[in-house]
Assembly symmetry: C2
Homo-oligomer: 141 residues x 2
DNA sequence: CGATAGGTTGACGTTAACGTAAATAGAACG
DNA sequence: CGTTCTATTTACGTTAACGTCAACCTATCG
C-alpha cells in the first residue's frame, strides 16, 4: 500500500481533481466544464489535471459569483480584473475603469439588498403584530 | 377615434399586458410565463389579462429577486411570506419562522457582498499602485 | 364589410450549466 | 497478469426561463 514517492512531486501547492471536489463541494464535471470555459487553468501531469493555488483562488471567486447570480461569462470577465499581468499603462488604466464600473454595480446591489432586508423585517413586524393581536384576543376574552 | 367609455371600467388600478411590459421592461411572454408559474394572478376581462396593483407589487419583488440570482421557484416561496391572508396562529408562527430563515440568508449574502466590495477595492488599489509606479519611472527618468 | 391593432393559446426552439453514461488509459495492488 | 482505482474524452440528456412562431379571436376604424 504505497501512498506516494519523492518522484510524485507531491507538491502541496497542487491538488488532484478529487481533492478539489472534496474541498469545494463540486463535481469533477463542474471543474472540467469551468476549464473548458477558460475559468480555470489546471496544469497537466501526463493526462491528469493538477489544480494550483491560483486555480483555487479563482474557484473561490467563481463560486461566490455564482451565489450572487452572475453568469459564468460575467464571472470570467470579472476574473480578468484580478490576475493582472505586467500590462501597458493604457491597458492598466482601462482595467481600472472597468473595475470601477463593476464596483458601482456591486454597491448598487448592496443598496438593493439593504432595501430587501428592510422590507423583510417590516413584513415580519406586521406578522408579529397580527400574532400579538390574536393572543390579546385570547387573553382578554 | 373613440378611446374609451364608462363601461370599459378604465380602472387606474389595473393595467393591460402592454402597459405592464412598458412599465417593467419585460415581454408579454414573460408575464404569461410568470402567471403559469403562479407568480402573478391577473384577473380577466373577457379573454384579456388585467394586472392589478398587487400583481405590480409582486412583479417588483420578482425582478429584484432575479437580480439577486434567485430562481423563480425560490421567489415564489418568498412571495408567500408577503400577502399573508387571515391565517391561523400556528400558520402565522410558521410563516414568521420561515421569514426569519430567509432574513438570515439575506444578511449572510450582505456579508459576502461586503467582502466582495472590499476585495474589489483592494484590487483597484493595487492597480493604482502599479500605475503610479509606472508614471514615477517616467517622471524621474 | 374588410383591414388593422392588440391580445390569446398552443407548441416547438434556444441557451446556460451542468448530469450522466460509455469507452479508454495508466498506475498500483495482489 | 488481471483487477481495481482514478481519471480522461466524447457525447447525448436535462432543467430553467424564456424566445419565437402560427393560428385565432374581437373590437374598432374607415
Amino acid at each position: 500500500m504505497m501512498l506516494m514517492t519523492i518522484g510524485d512531486l507531491m507538491d502541496p501547492e497542487t491538488m488532484s481533481i478529487r481533492e478539489m471536489c472534496d474541498a469545494f463541494d463540486v463535481t469533477p464535471r463542474t471543474l472540467r466544464f469551468y476549464e473548458s470555459k477558460e475559468l480555470l487553468f489546471p496544469i497537466r501531469e501526463g493526462q491528469k489535471r493538477l489544480f494550483t493555488r491560483r486555480d483555487r483562488a479563482r474557484l473561490t471567486l467563481i463560486l461566490r459569483g455564482k451565489r450572487f447570480g452572475f453568469s459564468l461569462e460575467e464571472i470570467r470577465q470579472l476574473l480578468e480584473l484580478y490576475y493582472v499581468g505586467d500590462q501597458q499603462e493604457t491597458q492598466l488604466t482601462r482595467t481600472l475603469e472597468v473595475a470601477q464600473d463593476r464596483l458601482s454595480d456591486l454597491e448598487q446591489r448592496r443598496a438593493e439588498l439593504d432595501d430587501a432586508i428592510a422590507e423583510m423585517k417590516s413584513q415580519m413586524g406586521m406578522i408579529r403584530d397580527m400574532l400579538s393581536g390574536l393572543s390579546d384576543g385570547k387573553d382578554t376574552a
